[in-house]
């Protein structure tokens, strides 16, 4: 298998893995917010918008997977934008979690919960996993531009 084909397969697998992860998390998060699921698996907060954001991100990854037969750059572009949005969303959620803890600490709100559990929300875990993926894709594309 040549390096181009290897790259294409890696991009495809990453798209499938992250697309599915975001789709499942997004749907569960959405459904739990409208009380269809009482106790979703894992640490998924009920959140209509958050769930919708995760579904949008999953659609971007899946659109990349569906463009498999087109040139590799096209699939990579979906993965790149999906990764960027995932990181944006993950960082947003992490900062909001930290600010909730600060509010709890200064006594303006109560019941922020355990910070470790809150920071292990799927959106934050997936964001952490995607940071090296995004970085390597950026480096690869920048090197390609310079070459």
């Amino acid at each position: 298998m040549g390096s181009d084909e290897q790259r294409r397969m890696t991009t495809l697998i990453l798209g499938i893995v992250f697309g599915s992860a975001y789709l499942i998390s997004g749907i569960l998060q959405f459904l739990s917010s409208i009380s269809i699921i009482d106790d979703p698996i894992g640490n998924l907060p009920g959140d209509v918008i958050g769930g919708s954001v995760m579904i949008i991100i999953s659609i971007i990854f899946i659109a990349g997977v569906l463009s498999y037969k087109k040139e590799e750059g096209r699939m990579r572009s979906f993965l790149l934008v999906g990764t960027f949005l995932s990181i944006l969303y993950g960082i947003t959620q992490a900062l909001v979690t930290i600010s909730d803890q600060v509010s709890d600490l200064i006594g303006t709100t109560e019941g922020a919960g355990n910070i470790i559990i809150n920071l292990s929300a799927p959106s934050i875990i997936l964001c952490i996993l995607l940071i090296p993926v995004g970085a390597s894709m950026l480096l690869f594309t920048i090197r390609g531009e310079k070459r």
Binding site: L88, V96, S99, I106, T108, G144
Partner: protein, 667 residues
Amino acid sequence: MDPKPIKVALAGNPNVGKTTLFNELTGENLHVGNWPGVTVEKVIGKKVHKGHNIEIVDLPGTYSLTAYSKDELITRNYIVEEEPDLVLNIIDPTNLGRNLYLTYQLMELQCQMLLAVNMWDLTKDPENAVDLKALSRELDIEAIPTISTTGKGVRELLDAIVRVAGSNPTCKEQIRFNDDIEKEIHKITRALNDWDPGRDHRWMAIKALEGDKQVWDLLKERDLDDRLRELMGEIDPMGMEISITDGRYRQIDNVLAKVKKKVKKKEKISDLIDSVVTNRHLGIPIFLVIIWSIFELTFEFATPFSNLIDMGFGELSTFALEQIQPAWLSSLIGEGIIGGVGAVIIFLPNILVLFFLISLLESSGYMARAAFVMDRVMSKIGLSGKSFIPMVIGFGCNVPAIMATRSIDDRKDRLVTILVNPFVSCGARLPVYILLIGIFFKGSGSMVIFFLYLLGIVVAILSAKLFRVTILKGDPAPFIMELPRYRGPDLRLSIRSTWEKGYQYLKKAGTVILLGSVIMWFLASYSFSLENVDYGSEASMAAAMGKFIVPILAPLGFDWRITVALIFGFVAKEIVVSAMGVLYNVGAEGSTLTERLSSEGSGMTSLNSLSLMVFVLLYVPCLATIGVIKQETGSWGWAIFAIIYTTSIAYLLALIIYQGGLLLGFG
């Protein structure tokens, strides 16, 4: 020191970094952004360099000296009529051909010139590499490489400005057009020489042949138009304009062949990202995710810091009320000043986060993509994508947003964009939302803010459609916008811009809002016969005023205190919060405004607070916005129309929300 300043005009295509360079040259802190059309008016800055006074004028970007929009006209008029000592032409090496088109037109004007080849760091890419010496030699103009974002080359540029402006003007190499065009130029130049001997009229002759509107207006003013038309005979103006443009580009191609190497184009990150973010189906959802993240951070992340400041002001107010004598002074300081100004300052963290994130968005280059994506929606309702950028700028403040409409060429497009812009929620309305959402919509704060902003945009879009089929009939002009290169976050620039916005917010709190709070305190403390009454009692002027008007606003769920706050909000929207801070000292318990509004005595519920937020979002624009609508439309009629229209829409929607909510049992 030389007393006469050297007048330098910064000219160049849109989005080449003129304002960033201007800030570096002068130490000013003007607003910058990575999309075409940020600067829409001329700004003058000063610099003393090596004993020379230099007056630098930042001008809106333009692709040529033939002006189509209001901002382009400002640039052209300054360069042509003010005759600066030096034109500093800033060019982008990644788009050299298009940038040189303006350079050649400036050369035709025979003005003293200097070139700043900006974004020089990008020339490391072989695709953008430029042979600077060859460029300088071919154009016969000194060229300095600069990187405006880091300040590289600024000192060399200042040295060159002093050197070139002090030298004798040199006659620049002119483009020789084909014989037919040259014959026509010669004919017109001779006629113009008869009228005004001793001047070089070649530029005017070329512009006349191009059918330039401003030149023909000038010729008409001087009764020369008929004579020149006679001389031009059967010339097809459109064909002539194309031939002249073609002549310039042929010359530019000759220069490019000498200064640029031919390299094979490669796949760029920008292209990869654009293929997704401008996607027909994914573009709008991606835009919504980005905007939602901004509001989530603005509301949720900044809240603990706002709460801390709120607690501090609560303590300060209690201290002032308990410790200061006499009673009227403690009331003025504790209830009037600290209650009013403090109620606004507590939202500084939210404002800083919002402006920081908007500034990152602006510098990233994404704004132009958002406009492109929205063009499909905008064109369906009768506006062009160009109208979308003023809407996003409106998230910060409606005043610069309305001024940004100068880049819209079509008059009706521009007018519609101006009239609907006040519906876009500015930063000044944010404190009202955060205050009420923090009390009545805990847990879904960012979602409510997101929908309020979205509601503003939807109302703006629907109003535009209404105007397009009624008072401003017509089709939108086609949307053409250059998509700038993406740039990574420039923290230095973003922090500087955020600091400037935060400073302006605090300045407003210390001036207009302080004054408003004192007036509000006075109205709540005295009767019409100027007797001191119980604070906010029935006998106070504020209560009398509020109760006089409240029958109109009562169907929206508002009491007299909200009514008074809304009236004063006409001056500046932040005053709504400061007035509530002053007026809700009455009859409610708690040391902070949040505590007082949550108490039973406040009369506030989640339903009337939602109605209030929608009303504040849509009702009459602030005084400064009304002023700029009058200035930009040139008519008080449109300004008054904006007041009546926005307030009617606000009233209607707030009424539907409140009465509908009551009917559904949400009261």
